[in-house]
Symmetry: C2
């Protein structure tokens, strides 16, 4: 299984890192796609290396496309037409599309949330409603091939849910156990 994770300036570092780390622990081949540089600065000054540029992405290479959040990071994703095209194309090919924190707004903009149960960072629910999504208060919400979640503290649950969808419950559970999820998180 192959997953694409976007990395644009202002991305939320815990969210991006947790997604990439957890999926790789589950033997998913993760490609990190940077906006215009191969070293991308997050919302809290951390610079993380990307593997390729978003403009070079061929969506047919991937089984899942994932948007980390962050305030500025989400703005940058929303302004990037290539990102909107990639998530739309992935969704229409029935690939997994996932977003966390403010970034479910990207899926809303791309028109993927019509009639879908979904969630977002608290207070941003109107962004989901603009795209005719149905806001839900759960930590992680799965509806068909869309997975959404709410913020840094929910990133581990979100990443494990993506892993479960791609690799099965046992693989995700074993990775969660090694990361001490059962002793640390509800």
């Amino acid at each position: 299984m192959r997953a694409l994770v976007f990395l644009v300036p202002g991305f939320e570092e815990i969210e991006a890192t947790t997604i990439i780390d957890v999926l790789r622990r589950c033997d998913i081949d993760v490609t990190v796609a940077g906006q215009s540089d191969l070293l991308v600065e997050g919302g809290h000054g951390m610079k993380i290396a990307a593997d390729q540029l978003i403009m070079e992405v061929d969506v047919s290479d991937f089984d899942a496309v994932i948007c980390p959040g962050g305030g500025l990071g989400t703005e940058n994703l929303r302004k990037n037409q290539r990102v909107l095209d990639i998530v739309k194309s992935a969704f229409e090919s029935n690939k997994l599309v996932a977003a966390i924190c403010a970034a479910p707004a990207v899926l809303s903009d791309a028109g993927l949330l019509k009639g879908k149960r979904c969630t977002i960072y608290p207070g941003m629910e109107s962004e989901l409603e603009k795209g005719e999504g149905i806001p839900i208060e759960d930590i992680v919400v799965v509806d068909g091939n869309i997975i959404t979640s709410r913020g840094p503290a929910t990133a581990l649950r979100f990443a494990l849910q993506i892993a479960e969808k791609l690799m099965g419950k046992q693989v995700a559970e074993e990775a969660g156990n090694r990361m001490l999820v059962p002793i640390a998180i509800k």
Copy 2:
């Protein structure tokens, strides 16, 4: 307040990122010190930029020194005499010294855990006992100026505990609220 975070090859990405992100959210000035390069590869292939090299660190600049874990990352910290000298010097100056996952073994090697309550990744308790530490099963353990914790899923609690010690309960609590800790983590 100023904190130093070590970044050596094989570091656990979620742990390192969570520490740096949370402390910066709490307005702590964080310096990331790399082993021999300013771009350091973690245990799951993520490359993260450091601000300076460990050999250049002046411990008197910092109020706290923090060791992220990871299997190979901890081995590399333990083999680095400069790291052992820095944590020892920080401890003796009554600065905060903290380690998570396998990395409390570094504090044990440096002789900081004698008679101290502390914790480590499950199954590694003998590493604490070698340094005459007292293993405790809690998610985060504070004893004087030593804070220890257990693994990726406990990193957020660990980082918030460090922030609380440096900046006070209110600052840490507000940062935790914005990261959605109350809805996501016990």
